[in-house]
Point group: C6
Chain length 77, copies 6
């Protein structure tokens, strides 16, 4: 399964995303993703060292500025 | 709805945009957007910690340098 | 009108451009632009806080490194 | 063998990846890669000077933000 | 004339190039350029404040990391 | 000869590569390159001021993060 298909399997789940221009991690529920990894998240919050900093609500992230993303659950295992 | 379609639904609304080369957030009314997330905003202002810094008027933003964008209203909810 | 068409309407006008690798703003007359927002400017100068720093003459700017551009006139309104 | 084919040969192996927005190296087992070098890794950990810092589990990395990647074994030879 | 065609007219001339990852300007004779603004320069030197720092000889520059380029002559006018 | 063809002529030679996310230069033998300038190098070492810092062995470099590359020999001339 290619990486963009892996991302499709995460729709509806909470994910964490590290962006190029952000010191903090974004956490939100993945609503949609396209092949460029552009993402639409809702209930998005900025997180720093496990602490919630800022609530951003519904955001669109530009795929080419994503460093990495991972599902919140799998991160715990 | 793919992320670029989500952005289309924001046309006519006030949005906030975080750019890669900008410390401050840009806020303006979205006039148009293409599939690369290139954006045309009017009544654009730079904002830092909720304070308006600089009025930029009509601006074109290059999509690949967008980190994230969100509608101003949804951010309040 | 899509953002790249908006840029086409600025040909012949003085514009300001913020580039990813530049602390200062570039101001010049827009001679041509393509769909990637690659730009050819003439009479280009670097500007910092309204002061002209360096005259660069005729320059080609790579579109993907543009953060934002705006017409000089509209900025005043 | 083109570079993207070289990456395909690393599937199932432990690799190290240096990302643009990461001070630390990521090490994980390569599950899949596409032609843009988007990668899906599992058992991913952040490494700094040979020390494991953080366990990230299953991650998707955006190809255009990869600086370099290499197989862990070949690095020892 | 589109920006990439403007660059074609500079083949054989000395140009200066500002790169995203370089503090210093590169100056060399333009041998070839493609539509992505990938450039092949010869007799390339790094320049800082008009002083020659390092001779790099024949170099290939990746177009997407070019901030701006301009002909050396036009810069003087 | 377009820049990507110039790079093809360097296959089998030692080259130096400056990457966007690397303070140090990478030096290695070029095994393959594609049109995006993705590179496969072997016997790669990190170099700082002419000193070898770290041996990386076989590495794949993502083309869009290359600032410049040049052949080691030509650099001496």
């Amino acid at each position: 399964m290619f990486p963009n298909k892996k991302v499709q399997t995460l729709i509806g789940q909470k994910i964490q995303v590290e962006m190029k221009g952000e010191k903090n991690i974004l956490e939100g529920t993945l609503i949609s993703a396209d092949d460029y990894l552009n993402l639409h998240l809702i209930d998005t919050t900025e997180i720093s060292n496990g602490e919630r900093l800022r609530s951003l609500g519904s955001v669109v992230l530009r795929g080419n500025n994503i460093i990495l993303l991972n599902p919140v659950k799998e991160q715990l295992s």
